[in-house]
Point group: C2
Chain length 167, copies 2
Amino acid sequence: MSAHGPSRHDLLTIGQLADRSGLAASALRYYEKLGLIHATRTTGNQRRYTRGTLRRIAFVRAAQRVGLSLDEAKVALDRLPEHRAPSGAEWDGVAQSWQSRIDEQIAELERLKAKLTGCIGCGCLSLTRCGLYNAADRAGATGPGARYLLTRDPATGPEPAGGDFTE
Amino acid sequence: MSAHGPSRHDLLTIGQLADRSGLAASALRYYEKLGLIHATRTTGNQRRYTRGTLRRIAFVRAAQRVGLSLDEAKVALDRLPEHRAPSGAEWDGVAQSWQSRIDEQIAELERLKAKLTGCIGCGCLSLTRCGLYNAADRAGATGPGARYLLTRDPATGPEPAGGDFTE
DNA sequence: CTGCTACTTGAAGTCGACTTCAAGTCAAGC
DNA sequence: GCTTGACTTGAAGTCGACTTCAAGTAGCAG
């Protein structure tokens, strides 16, 4: 065989991909079911992955870190070229939206940190003034089923504040 | 009645607490089942919460933000006085451990951000050098059931790196 | 060809954090 | 005293992200 396509050396079994990605094989199958990654099959029906799949997985894991669900990750992933590495411009869009997400999360953590430090500073003795004391107020109740921890959408609504130490 | 204890004005119904905390009443009952908050009962068996409960809830929500589970939050909460606001020293311990968690999370996000910016900078054209391209490698497989997204324990193991853009 | 491990499938189970439901009880305004 | 809306319970359901299981097949070393 003298083809230039992915030779058997470039193709990874699910076990190899699992080892290299740090995900369980079952997780990889699950990702495939969701359409996050794709595999070719051997004549015997076993999955074979190209190396590029590692890139896709890295992308997905990074997306999770910035608070995206796998479905959301898929949307972002689908806008990138399937078989080629993304171009600078293509990256730019995705990366920029992540930047803001990351910045937002960092900012939120900084706020929390500041509140906490302030709380230590004041010794939490002046209860009526301490942030934590009357903290939980004024929540925007994102409705039933809402879980705000890390899934806040920057473009949706005026900030839940359920645990934000405002007021 | 001339007692100085919490008068009926200081006691909140579950609905009021839900409104003020931004949590659903069902969530508050769930928290109570977990021992995160407590309620007294009216003669008719309805829950009444003291204002301090808002503080406990704020604490729990903050704990969730820094990546703690409700069970972990309970552990931290149980080390604080139940009916009084915590003293400076008491806060100090909790707050400090949170500080490091927060700092850690911020650091991780900064790392991700840096990788992302680097990726934009290089235009992702030199595939063999791009962080994302061969990113997913070298994962420490935290074992079955492991989900590392935000639940990493600083004191446990040498960093998963499943989605970390190292190597 | 044998033997072994890695692979295949779909269905079901798990975990955390809640929500929903049904059927009934309480509190309060008129 | 009646009505209305907020409250009570336990059990079951949901959601995302996987894992586990059982029974069978592939790939490869020797």
